[in-house]
């Protein structure tokens, strides 16, 4: 696995990049509230995208639409060549391609760390228990938490839980990983361990969309940054340009607020 990842990373630049995710003029309303306005994005395979914006700007809704936790009402979403439609089959095959990490971890509290990681591989991917446990242990080692495998989530710190959540998602061997404010619920001293795990994952060539306020992470890891406000994409670009030279007033204001906050 490790070898393939490195190979993938090396060839990444020269290859004709396949499109992993495309959203075309996606609109969504919560009642009268227009939460996504004509959102159009394209994410290539292996691309790392950071989505930022003030709270209520629709950034979480955007990534939640990608694996059907929310349904969009207008526009097209195509994931790895499959269009998100009402059909349960399309939904299931898309969910199998996408891993998701939540702000509140959402580990299953009644299952051990190892069981958290093996549940989906055994029940969805039909792996044997032994195979699934080996797979889970390899990912738990990757997020440096294998020694906690027999514990329950409640016995782990927030940072550890979030790393387990990343391992759990990786056990489905997804093509795309979504992160919904993965460090927002963490104590400051635990943010780094999670960001480090995410950075390692990014370096392995995983396609990632990450909603976060961690601008250091965006600068270090992201290929592009999407800035949202009031449900629309206001500005996109590579992180260095976005942060050094924001073209819009709204991004300028947002950045100054974020930076003052730190």
């Amino acid at each position: 696995m490790g070898v393939e990842e490195i190979a993938g990373q090396v060839t990444q630049g020269s290859e004709n990049k396949k499109i992993a995710i495309s959203m075309e003029k996606v609109n969504k309303w919560f009642g009268a509230l227009h939460v996504l306005r004509d959102v159009t994005i394209t994410v290539a395979e292996g691309e790392r995208v950071v989505v930022c914006g003030p709270s209520g700007s629709g950034k979480s809704t955007l990534i939640r639409c990608l694996n059907w936790l929310e349904t969009h009402q207008q526009g097209r979403i195509v994931i790895d060549g499959i269009e998100l439609t009402e059909s349960p089959r399309a939904r299931d095959s898309i969910r199998a391609k996408i891993g998701m990490v939540f702000q509140s971890f959402n580990l299953f509290p009644h299952l051990t760390i190892l069981e958290n990681c093996t549940l989906a591989p055994v029940s969805v991917r039909k792996m044997s228990r032994k195979q699934a446990e080996e797979l889970a242990m390899s990912y738990l080692q990757r997020v440096k938490i294998a020694d906690q495998a027999k514990k329950y989530p409640g016995q782990l710190s927030g940072g550890q839980q979030q790393r387990v959540a990343i391992a759990r998602a990786l056990c489905m061997e997804p093509k795309i990983m979504l992160f919904d404010e993965p460090t927002s619920a963490l104590d400051p001293e635990m943010i780094k361990e999670v960001l480090d795990t995410m950075t390692t994952l990014a370096e392995s060539g995983m396609t990632m969309i990450c909603v976060t306020h961690e601008m250091g992470f965006a600068r270090q890891v992201a290929d592009s940054v999407i800035f949202m406000d009031y449900g629309e994409i206001v500005e996109t670009g590579p992180p260095h340009r976005m942060f050094a030279d924001p073209h819009t007033e709204r991004l300028k204001t947002f950045l100054s607020q974020i930076l003052h906050g730190h």
Binding site: N67, W68, L69, D92, R95, A96, I98, G99, M100, F102, S104, N106, L107, F108, P109, H110, L111, T112, L119, A120, S123, V124, E134, M137, S138, Q141, A146, D147, A149, K150, K151, Y152, P153, G154, Q155, R168, A169, M172
Partner: protein, 238 residues
């Protein structure tokens, strides 16, 4: 005071109530099992997306929670036979089990529904994001967590069910109270006999209380995770 304490002691330690107590326990366990099965199915229906299922569950609960258990017992035993022209003629045991079990099912439906609804929404989202099927999501993620919430109220139900087995005396099930009525209708020692009957119910309730506490402890353990690590040494990565 005409309390015949000698007779009371004698009856209390006689073998008269052993078989009836067993009958009461047996009816409680079997009816509870029926109730839990009905409650789980109806509880899942009540939390599903189908409005038709919601409506059906509502009607079921309204009928079986809204009428007295005594009425339901006589319905299953006599009413159903009369209604179907003896086509369905349940035995005493079957009628008793149906009456207590289905009635219990109505109460358990509400308990299971509340348990399911208490599970954090994030758990469902995680299950969806992992692509778990409805079956796996419910069996492995939602219900185990719902059970934890459902255990304390279910304990109350067990105790009330145990006492409700006394109503089966109307269809001549030889349980504790029926045995008592048979004795005092002969010797007219109402108080002594009822006192013995009561001691049996209280005793069984107390025993169940111990079981209930064990169950609650056990169901909480995996959530707080206080115990299981002690016996498992740190895993050596392969």
């Amino acid at each position: 005071m005409h309390f015949d304490s000698r007779y009371f002691i004698e009856l209390l330690f006689s073998r008269n109530f052993l078989a009836p107590a067993w009958t009461a326990v047996w009816f409680t366990v079997a009816s509870m099992a029926i109730g839990i099965v009905i409650g789980t199915i109806a509880g899942l229906a009540a939390t599903s997306k189908s409005r038709i299922l919601h409506g059906m569950v509502k009607v079921f609960i309204t009928i079986f929670r809204g009428t007295p258990v005594l009425v339901q017992i006589v319905f299953w035993y006599d009413g159903l036979a009369e209604l179907t022209g003896n086509f369905i003629n349940l035995s005493v045991v079957t009628a008793g089990l149906m009456a207590l079990g289905v009635n219990e099912g109505a109460y358990m439906t509400e308990i299971v529904r509340a348990g399911i609804e208490s599970v954090d929404k994030g758990q469902l989202e995680a299950a969806h994001a992992l692509g778990l099927s409805y079956r796996t999501k419910m069996l492995r993620v939602v219900l185990p967590q719902a059970v934890r919430v459902a255990i304390p109220p279910t304990g109350n139900q067990v105790i009330s069910l145990l006492k409700n087995t006394s109503l089966l005396f109307t269809i001549a099930v030889p349980e504790i109270f029926a045995t008592g009525t048979n004795i005092f209708s002969v010797n007219f020692k109402y108080f002594e006999v009822l006192a013995v009957v009561s001691v049996w119910y209280v005793g069984l309730t107390l025993v169940y209380g111990i079981i209930q506490r064990k169950l609650e402890k056990r169901s909480n353990r995996s959530i707080t995770g206080a115990k299981p690590t002690a016996k498992v040494p740190t895993v050596v990565p392969a």
